[in-house]
Amino acid sequence: YRDLHTFELQAPTRLIEWARGNRVCVAGYGQSDGNEILQLIPPPTLQTKETQGLCPERDFKVECGGFSKRPVYSLKYVPDTSLLVTSGPPDSSLQVWQVSAEDSDVIKSVSTIATENGTGQSWAKIATISARAPWVLHGSRLDRVHITEVESRKNVYTAASRGSEELSGLAFLDCNTLLLCCTTGQLCLADVRQPQSPVEAVSVPSAPCSERWCMSTRYGAQGLEPSSQPVARLSSRGLLTLTDLRKTSESLASAKARVPSPGSGAEFLCISWAPALEGCLAVSGFDGTVHVYDTQRWDSSGREAEPIFIHKGHAFGGSGDPPLVTVHTWHLQKPRTLLSAASDGSLHVWDWVQPCGKC
């Protein structure tokens, strides 16, 4: 490590989202109704390029917080506004909140975006964009995907799809193109301008079995043709595939992550591309570790890949069962800094050193 900071949150979080001004947001997902949404200011050590060792300010500061009656499983800021959207069980409706850090330190609940709640609906996955207007893309199943205008709560688009598979993630590739990922691993593309044409499945994993999949697209890669960035998918058995959306007939590369025996559940599977490091991605959710891989070393054979770094910090928590890493995210500017959180409430910020070789 070059640097490692450990913090303890009062309640564990399963999301870490970046906000304007280098803020970080976390939220509780417990069953009781006192879940807190916290917008944190990271310590100055994380904000400067050089790492300072004994900086006087080494702590996160809670800038503002809100109280949620339901567990918060997903949270996204709505760009160019002071709003954020959350979702969580028991249904697929969304909650809209207002953050006004200058006036008060309370994140206020503003409204709810209701959805039709069928049986067996799980919580909605969300993505936001503010290209034409502040929009939130949400849905828990393939046939329940909508885009809603955040402020007016008007439905702007409904995806026409034939399947009703559960979704594990969705994203805006640009202001017109949507990428949807099902838990079966299926990737689908949709065009907002053509709501009538059904959503196309563009890539199905080669060996479908009862595993769950999640995906990651390149984080806010500005100026680049979004569909030229490969999409990475991770399965609960540790399979990793990279797919080029322009050529979806075959995967670009695939590998297998070294994971402990499956069965630890796919609740917290998380995969993400490094925003400032070409070809690197991080994987977590199998145990108390976070793995970093260099995908440029992969080929299409699908054999086990060696991670270039493993963060084991969470496993050395207190007594009792080793915690599970619930989520991780990359620092937007510092190339090798990550934040990870685990089920015991710990929050780590770490900066790893590339072992022997290139930068």
Binding site: T6, F7, E8, L40, P43, L54, D59, F60, V62, D105
Partner: protein, 599 residues
């Protein structure tokens, strides 16, 4: 409604000086008397004119309580007691009483000698002030006067820091001062019992902070020291005699032992003896581990840490030195600093807050060319590091303390209003208590619901407990009695006793009701029918047929007469006393339903 009034004179919504005025049941208490370290003029003192414009403070205040020896809690005490004028008692714990004067004198020296201020207290004033101090032990109830009592609780934070409970009758306030809910290497964690005060006044400086783990800070500190020593440099750590120094010594000693390091670690002479003296004296104030091991060997007698001699500063090679005073403003630490400042291999680690004007403050602000006495310029090439190991409670700690004490109201001091709204809501939601955040000079009034103790007569108690289900320790039991307020006392007695004492006669209320029954037979036959019916229905009650033709059910009387105009109708007179109201009403409605055909 009785109320408690709280006015912060400092530490309302700013971090700086703590000084809080509390009015409880007619008693006035001042909590802490701190100095604001950032100001150079009168703004550093709390505004005492608020307490009383004219009139002596001694008459107005019943006592002053100091929570711990940090200057932002006791710095203005000599000014207050000797320059403004107060002769009443000042309460603090024994360690605080021992250490306060040292810090005050030290501070006086910097301010007057170094900065040349004039409106400041003198050494004699400090001595006179300390003469007014009454030292207290932990968990000892101290009677300030007949009605006011105080009790100190362990607060962690620094040696001798305490949280105080102030009680008048059954109204109480707990003031936390600065506290820490997690133990460290040489101090334990704060603790209070479920005293359920009407108000808990808590500091909230670190409420919005999520702290980096202690392990990480320590690891980074050790890394810096190790790196410097490895490359042959010298590390200077200016410390105050008591406080973090002990913590760091234990940390370094353990590290040196583990890594088998050979570089010497020195501790200023005088410092060790004084520190050891205080820690031995106040051993009960340290944490469990220290107390346990102190018996076998003095924890503060270190293997790797030795007493320092001035000459050592010139020795070649690496070393680590702890020297006083803590802000590099005078004495040994400044001397050593001047010798080592020119070499970039060396390092100085500032352990905490430095007052403006001191060398410590200057180098922390980035100054690298300092003007010393005699117009000499000192170029600082050595590395300057800052680390803060201060121990304050964060949001989680505050919630823990509230959970322990179970106050009815909470008041937060030491934070910024805007940034405390979230914590306020959090406390209100979780504990369903009111949370207040007054600004300086703003008075908060908290309504209390005091319990009034009342004597209950033994006879009444025995009688009431015999009625109904057995008393349950966890459930309140409802009792009936008469409250007598006589001669300034409250007593609960049984009604008969009350009547006797007051010389009043008891009036008996009797109700009579007429029930009409259709029955053509003779009166005595009707009576027999009624008797048999009632006997059959009211099996648990005593139903009797008297020779005079009337029926009694318990003490209720039933008589039958024929209706004056209609022989076929019988009139039953049912008569009962007020005490038998329930049974009487029941009987009446039963009889109104009519008699069964068979009898």
């Amino acid at each position: 409604m009785p109320e408690i009034k709280v006015t912060p004179l400092g530490a309302g919504q700013d971090v700086g000086r703590s000084c809080i005025l509390v009015s409880i049941a007619g008693k006035n208490v001042m909590l802490d008397c701190g100095m604001h370290m950032g100001y150079n003029d009168d703004r550093r003192f709390p505004d005492f004119s608020y307490i009383t414009q004219n009139g002596r403070l001694t008459d107005f205040l019943d006592c002053v309580i100091i929570s711990h020896f940090h200057l932002d809690h006791c710095g203005a005490l000599p000014y207050f007691s000797e320059m403004v004028g107060y002769d009443g008692p000042i309460y603090m714990t024994h360690p605080t009483k021992a250490i306060c004067p040292i810090l005050l004198e030290d501070y006086r020296k910097i301010t007057v000698d170094k900065k040349g201020e004039t409106n400041f207290f003198t050494s004699q004033m400090i001595k006179d002030c300390m003469k007014k101090v009454v030292a207290v032990h932990l968990h000892q109830t101290v009677q300030v006067d007949e009605e006011l009592e105080i009790k100190a609780y362990y607060a962690g934070h620094v040696l001798g820091a305490a949280m105080f409970q102030i009680k008048v009758g059954c109204e109480s306030v707990v003031y936390t001062g600065d506290y820490n809910m997690t133990p460290d290497r040489h101090l334990g964690a704060a603790w209070i019992d479920k005293c359920r005060p009407d108000l808990l006044i808590s500091e909230s400086t670190y409420a919005t902070t999520i702290r980096d783990s202690k392990r990480c800070r320590e690891r980074d500190f050790l890394k810096k020291v190790h790196e410097t020593v490895e490359r042959g440099g010298k590390v200077l750590i200016p410390v105050f005699a008591l406080g973090r120094a002990q913590e760091l010594c234990i940390l370094l000693e353990t590290f040196w032992e583990r890594m088998n390091l050979k570089a010497p670690i020195y501790f200023s002479t005088g410092l060790t003896e004084k520190a050891n003296h205080y820690y031995k004296l106040f051993i009960t104030w340290t944490n469990q581990k220290i107390r346990k091991t102190f018996v076998q060997r003095n924890m503060f007698e270190f293997k790797h840490i030795k007493a320092f001699d001035r000459a050592f500063a010139d020795n070649p090679g690496p070393m680590v030195v702890f020297a006083t005073p803590g802000m590099l403003h005078a004495g040994q630490s400044l001397q050593i600093f001047r010798k080592w400042a020119g070499n970039e291999k060396n390092m100085v680690i500032m352990p905490g807050y430095c007052v403006q004007g001191t060398v410590g403050h200057k180098i922390l602000s980035g100054q690298r060319k300092l003007e010393m006495e005699g117009r000499q310029i000192l170029e600082v090439k050595m590395q300057v590091e800052y680390m803060s190991f201060s121990a304050h409670a964060d949001a989680k700690g505050i919630m823990q303390l509230i959970r322990q004490a179970e106050p009815r109201n909470v008041l937060l001091v030491h934070g910024e209003a805007k940034k405390m709204e979230f914590l306020k809501q959090k406390i209100e939601q979780e504990f369903h208590v009111n949370c207040y955040m007054p600004a300086n000079g703003e008075t908060t009034t908290i309504l209390t619901n005091p319990c009034i103790p009342v004597d209950i007569s033994l006879g009444l108690l025995k009688r009431e407990t015999a009625i109904g289900p057995l008393p349950d320790a966890k459930k309140p039991k409802l009792m009936h009695g008469t409250l007598l307020m006589k001669d300034n006392s409250f007593r609960l007695v049984c009604p008969e006793q009350a009547l006797k004492e007051l010389g009043l006669a008891e009036h008996q209320l009797r109700f009579t009701c007429r029930v009409h029954i259709q029955d053509p037979r003779k009166e005595h036959e009707t009576v027999l029918r009624v008797y048999n019916h009632l006997k059959g229905v009211l099996k648990d009650y005593s139903v009797q047929h008297l020779p005079d033709g009337s029926i009694t059910v318990e003490s209720i009387l039933i008589q039958a007469t024929a209706h004056s105009e209609d022989q076929g109708t019988k009139v039953l007179l049912v008569s009962w006393t007020y005490q038998d109201e329930e049974l009487g009403s029941y009987l009446t409605s039963l009889l109104k339903k009519g008699l069964p055909q068979s009898t």
